[in-house]
Every structure is written in C-alpha cells, then in structure tokens.
Symmetry: C2
Subunit: 257 residues, 2 copies
C-alpha cells in the first residue's frame, strides 16, 4: 500500500496570512498523496460579530443555529477554503476544496437532541472513500473544510478533528495513512506553559490516567479521543505537534496503540 499524509490544521495556523503561508509551504512540500483538513478558527466568530450576531452557547457548548451555519458556510467553505486552495495552487500543489456535500464526500446526520440541542451539527455516517482515492490517484489534493451534508439538502457543521480521524480511518483500507494534527503547541503538555512538559508518546492507559488526574486540559480530551479512535481504527501513525513536524524531526506527541 502507498503512503498517504493526512494533515489537520488548527484554526490558529490559518488566520494570520504569514503563518498560513508558512504552514501551506510545509504542507506543499509533502510528497505523494495527501489531504488537508482545516478548522475555522475565529473567522466565523469574527464575521458573526461584524454582522451583529452573537454565538449561542448552552452549558458552555457552542450551538450552531441557522444564522451561524450560514456564517460557517461563508467563512469555512468560502473565504478560508478558497484562499487556502488558491495559495496551494501558487505553491504548485493541485488542491481542490471540498465540503462534505461536494461529490457527496462526507455524509452526516443532524445530531439527535438529548440534553442539549446543538442545532445544525452533524455526526459523520459515511466517507466517500472512492472519491478521495480518485483524487489522490489523479494527483489532486483534497482540502476539506469542516462541513458535511445529510443527503437531504442540509449542510451541517462538523468537528474538524473528528473529520480528520474518520477520513484517515476510511482511507487506511487503501493506504498507509500518516495522520498529523498540527497546532501551535509542540504536542500534549502536562503543563500548558512549559514546553519541557511534553508527553513524547501516549497510549490509551496513560491517557486515561492523565484524564483521571486532571493533567490534560479540557480542550485536548476530544482531540486525543479522535487520535485514539484513528490509531485503533487502522491508521498507521498518529502525531500531534507543530507545523515543522511535516518536514523535520522535532519533538512531538506520538499516539501509540
């Protein structure tokens, strides 16, 4: 099986045009089939503020109402995705931007309402592996924003970390998938202020122990859950770290089976 790199870029790497250029240059240098999945960062919140809309929160969780879904479509699939694609083209990387609706790439169902109604949020049900494979075989590089569709005309907001893990798992039937979560930190830190507290390798037993002792910050828990989901789901390698990791050996966190 051929190698395939799947990179998830955190929103913080994409907002500032200089940092984005640096990140995309690293990404473009990766050889062979590759896929980029990107979050939206603060772009949706910024646009919402400009339009006088407030982000709806329930119990500290962000709610995607209809107005916020439209803003997500405008920023994630519109401005951000197309800027990334145009900039990758300039780096001789033949990128194509995709939402989950494009080519029926990623299907989801609207999250059922239990305690909280999250609104237009999608839980992934099906990845169109053949479509991603077709692009990779043609030398085209999919750039996926975090939107899916339900097959009945409804777009849905979907977590980009989960999207990256699910695409990786599905493609691991055809490729040796190397999944890297890129963000601004060097990896999992026991003390968020101290780079020396980096956890170089993490297996599920260690992860569960760190959760129990509250040594992992809240925001990292869902990301790591996606990481373990990927490595246990057949992905060859799962790493978390900074963008330089794409082309160099630098300290990072490696997820272990």
């Amino acid at each position: 099986m051929a190698d395939l790199h799947l990179i998830k870029a955190g929103g913080n790497l994409l907002e500032d045009s200089e940092i984005r250029k640096k990140f995309l240059t690293h990404f473009a240098l990766l050889e062979g089939p590759k896929i980029l999945v990107h979050g939206g960062g603060k772009s949706a919140t910024t646009l919402a503020a400009k339009m006088g809309l407030e982000v709806q929160m329930v119990d500290g969780r962000r709610i995607t109402d209809r107005a916020m879904l439209e803003i997500a479509c405008m920023t994630y699939a519109g401005l951000l995705n197309k800027s990334i694609v145009a900039e990758l083209q300039a780096l001789d990387c033949n990128a194509i931007g995709l939402s989950g609706a494009d080519g029926n790439a990623i299907r989801a169902v609207k999250r059922p309402v239990k305690e909280i109604d999250y609104g237009f949020v999608g839980d992934i049900t099906k990845i169109n592996t053949a479509l991603f494979d077709q692009f990779c075989q043609s030398g085209i590089v999919p750039v996926c924003c975090a939107l899916t569709h339900d097959g009945q005309g409804q777009l849905l907001n979907t977590n980009a970390d989960t999207l990256a893990a699910e695409i990786s798992k599905c493609l691991s039937t055809k490729y040796e998938v190397y999944l890297t979560y890129c963000f601004e930190k060097p990896g999992v830190l026991l003390n968020i202020e101290d780079s020396n507290s980096l956890v170089p390798t993490l297996d599920r037993t260690h992860f569960e122990a760190l959760k129990k002792s509250n040594q992992i910050v809240a925001g990292m828990i869902p990301k790591l859950t996606n990481c373990f989901d990927a490595i246990e789901g057949g992905v060859q390698e799962v790493r978390i770290g900074q963008m330089e990791l794409l082309n160099q050996t630098i300290p990072h966190t490696k997820i272990q089976l």
Copy 2:
C-alpha cells in the same frame, strides 16, 4: 461526440429558496454530462450591506476592492455554491462545487488598469478542459461559481456569463455542447415589458442592427456578446430563456451562426 449541457443560472433564480428548488429540479432532470455555472445575484450586495460596506462604483461600473472580493468568496463560493451542491445531492445529482482555483479549473489575469481600475476582476486565460472532462466522465456534475485565480494565490471575480461561454467553447472540442442561459425572462425582448416582443432567433447581423437602433437594453449586450462568442467558438447550440426550457419546448431566443 457525446452531448453535454452547460447551464448558466442567473442570480435571480437562486436567491429565493422556492425558485431555486424549482430551477435545480429542472437542472437535475437533464440527462448525461452537465455543468452548472451560477452568478451571485444580490447575495454579495446584501452581505456587504449587513457588514456596513458600500459597493464601489466608478462611471457606473462595479469595482471589486479587497473587501468586496472577500464578500464574493463568502457568498458565491461559500453559502450559495454549497447550498446549491447540497440541494443537488438531495436530488440525486452528484454535484461538486468549484471556484477557478479548485483543481486549477479556471485561470485568469487581473484586468489591466486602463481608464478604470476594476480591482480584483479576472479575465479568463485558461480552462482546465481535462478536469471538467474527468468529472463528466465520472458522472460528477461541476457547479462553478464566478471566481477564478491567477496561479499566484490571488482569487479574482469573473463574469459568470463569460465563464459559461468560455467553458462551453473549450469543452466543444470533446463534446457537442448545448449552452443555455437561464434567467427570469423568456429571452431577448424588444420591449422588456412585453413577452410578445420575444426575438425567437438572433444572428450577429440582426444583433448589430438591434444594438444600433437601441432596441436591446444595456444589460443584454454583454450577455449576447458572450452568446455569439460561444456559437462562433464551436458550441453546438446557444439559447436564452426561462428554466422550463431545460426540459420542455417553450418560446426562447436561439442564437444563430
């Protein structure tokens, strides 16, 4: 050569969700390879107004400054394109949304500044015929918004009528292309208020005469120029009319060589 339908949908057909649904149903019913090109209608102007931005005009011409280009990316490539794609998927039409940057589909150059600086407006230089052909052969239906790129990372606003004509011309080397410009009127009218004044067929001599006698309204002239450009460039058939034309024989304007 196989037949291919290329449909340009005017913005007025896409703004209202009920009218859009009706149009997309007509489009989805077309058999064989097909491509949709869409304008943006008032969506960009509406979003600009919500954000407190004013459309810049010079000598009655719309200028695309940086802020307006960002709004075009958000509305044309983001909200509008993705809504169309998701709704076509629900109609069992395997659509994929494209800006000119996606898959390097459509290259352009920023329009040179002569009397007027139009800003980030692109004049088309190259259509990626192989990409469109690849999609058509795979049963995937390209849905193109009116944005191109310059290959150096810059997205550019481009006239959707021109885009439709240029794609049609390039694909006419591989397909018998049937190009239909759909809008709210039944075709070219000598009196815009009177449907009975419809011009059923129009050749260039007749067009030039109607221009001279001021019998064609200003907005129709560039559209018709694109039509003649297409029919003279090898496109099999060029028509202008209402959406029902896609599946029925109704009065319309047919452009003649």
